[in-house]
């Protein structure tokens, strides 16, 4: 079983985001960068599937600049067998990223390509279905759980209000959400082993982004609110405010 997991380097979810002086990016100073959390779930899913199959290979793949090698090393420490860094700057144009991944993946003969359902930086949530279309593979998005059953992958997919149990033949592209499995912490042994695992770097085949970022701004400040009172006694005033001031009840 050959499983490719596409990951992305992103700011930690608790990081304070400040806009850079250029007004078009964030200031990376003091920001911790991590593997996007959904990609960690995807990696954990892949490792479990390899373990369940008893053999196979898990390859971590990313499009990113040189510093994305840190996140690939983390993926290797978690248990990926090898890693590939397609060097280039990811943009808001997910189709460009999907094309670079597709060009690389064509020759892999992977059984499964897993991605986090979205990267928590641009939140576009689009690369997985685009990649599936470009590779002409079936695609299941937002799977909380994936298991092999008689040669097909059975996915528990979260949709609005429902869980769909969907099966797909392999090879397939599956995007993963938070679900059944907590991503493992790399063991000391895993971290040591990761240093010796292959990490290949090559130029990404990145086309030109056709999404032009004009500006990036901080979210509008919310005007200061007020405490309407203490305990259950505050409820009548709260109701009044919601009806008469906010007009939302």
């Amino acid at each position: 079983m050959k499983i490719v997991v596409c990951i992305k380097r992103v700011p930690d979810t608790e990081a304070r985001i400040r806009i850079s002086g250029d007004g078009r990016s964030i200031d990376p100073a003091g920001v911790k960068f991590v593997i996007s959390p959904y990609d960690e779930f995807a990696l954990e899913t892949a490792l479990r599937m390899k373990e369940a199959a008893g053999s196979g290979e898990v390859i971590a793949l990313t499009v990113g600049e040189a510093n994305s090698a840190e996140q690939l090393r983390s993926a290797l420490a978690m248990g990926a067998d090898r890693a590939v860094l397609l060097k280039g700057e990811p943009t808001l144009d997910g189709l460009v990223t999907a094309r670079a991944l597709a060009a690389e993946l064509k020759a892999y003969g992977a059984d499964l390509i897993l991605l986090g359902m979205k990267a928590v930086d641009f939140d576009q949530q689009q690369v997985a279905p685009m990649l599936a279309e470009l590779l002409d593979l079936p695609c299941v998005t937002i799977a909380a759980q994936v298991e092999m059953e008689g040669g097909v992958a059975v996915c528990h997919r979260e949709t609005e209000g429902d869980t769909e149990v969907v099966e797909t033949a392999l090879p397939a592209v599956i995007s993963i959400t938070k679900g059944a499995y907590e991503p493992r912490y790399p063991s000391l042994k895993g971290i040591m082993a990761a240093k010796k695992k292959p990490l290949e770097e090559k130029a990404a085949q990145l086309g030109e982004s056709r999404i032009e970022l004009r500006t990036m701004t901080a979210p509008p400040e919310r005007p200061a609110g007020r405490i309407v009172g203490q305990g259950a006694d505050a409820v009548p005033e709260l109701i009044r405010a919601l009806r008469e001031e906010a007009k939302v009840l």
Binding site: I26, P138, V166, A232
Partner: protein, 327 residues
């Protein structure tokens, strides 16, 4: 010709509420480009009830694409139908809802048309022929303003952001057959389990009641459910990351950076202290109410109205008073 195609949604043969929002957003662009809004809905034979009412929000033309087994979303068949129509109409823009379906469908259509996609827009404007899209990035901790250098411009719009607005147009309904049916799909739905017991999903509900650690345990969720019930069918349950990680609630309810980012009209944060990643996911709500025992909880900094107190005391009274208004 600078027409806009609005891709709307049905479920069980009835139009979903996001449909009016997508058509309204499309109409806003069409007014600036001088074009018409065309709406498309894919479904099973017999069409979607309510499709003939889309004229009310500004759709000049409504195309119902029908096919065997297409009552539920079938990715490949839906993508083919929408891409065909988009090619044929040479649209200025094609709009989707950033719903579960739209987030799956729009990227596929983008790949088929070889154009980029701007997802989850919260603002749209036309300036000198360019479509300016505003969308949250870093889960709402920043906003990006961007333009798309391709045609058609593919955009999905965030639920609850573009309130449906009346704008009478002809709304002529035509029906055509889908080129591909459900049998062409390479994935198969074995089973559908309703997770929210028929309630709205937190990502699309106009009213959200979210609980956190301050609820003290999963056994206390009944008080939140009672409030949701009192608020009626437009309300949904939400949860903080802490309670999802603790296994008290399913991830489908999680609000915040590794959950859903929501923009409801009214958001109740109950026993939620207000971690950065949670605030990012809900700060664009129109009105925020915080109920928390700790008067210094960061959630009070973003709340419009705060009640300092124990959820166990405040919630029953709140549900009671809301029920009495409803009566």
């Amino acid at each position: 010709m600078a027409n806009i195609l609005a891709v709307v949604e049905q479920r069980d043969g009835a139009l979903r509420r996001i449909s009016g929002e997508v058509v309204t957003a499309a109409k806003q662009i069409a007014d600036a480009t001088g074009g018409e809004v065309h709406a498309v809905v894919v479904g099973a034979a017999g069409g979607a009830s309510g499709a003939d009412g889309l004229g009310r929000f500004g759709a000049a033309r409504v195309v119902q694409v029908e096919g065997e087994g297409l009552d539920r979303y079938v990715a490949e068949a839906y993508a083919a139908a929408v891409a065909d129509l988009a090619r044929e109409g040479k649209y200025y823009a094609v709009l989707f809802g950033a719903s579960a379906q739209g987030r799956d469908l729009a990227p596929r259509v983008a790949a088929r048309l070889d154009v980029p996609l701007a997802g989850d827009a919260t603002g749209l404007a036309v300036e000198a022929g360019e479509l300016l899209v505003t969308r949250p990035v870093y889960a709402g901790r920043a906003f990006a303003q961007l333009t798309i250098k391709a045609e058609p411009r593919l955009v999905s719009v965030r639920p609850n952001t573009f309130r449906p607005r009346e704008a009478a147009a002809a709304g002529t309904v035509e029906t055509r057959q889908a080129a591909a049916g459900a049998d062409a799909a390479r994935t198969r739905v074995r089973e559908v389990r309703a997770a929210t017991g028929g309630r709205l999903d937190v990502g699309e509900a106009p009213i959200v009641v979210a609980g956190g650690r301050g609820m003290k345990g999963p056994e206390n969720w009944q008080a939140l459910e009672d409030l949701v019930d009192a608020l009626g069918p437009t309300a949904a349950l939400g949860a903080s990351r802490a309670v999802v990680d603790a296994g008290w609630r399913p991830h489908g309810e999680q609000v915040g950076q590794t959950g859903k980012t929501v923009s409801p009209q009214l958001y109740f944060a109950v026993g939620i202290s207000g971690a950065m990643q949670h605030l990012a996911g809900m700060r664009s709500a129109k009105t925020i109410v915080a109920i928390n025992k700790d008067p210094d909880a960061p959630i009070f900094k973003v709340a419009d109205y705060g009640v300092v107190g124990d959820a166990a005391e405040v919630l029953p009274r709140l549900a009671e008073e809301i029920r009495s208004i409803a009566r």
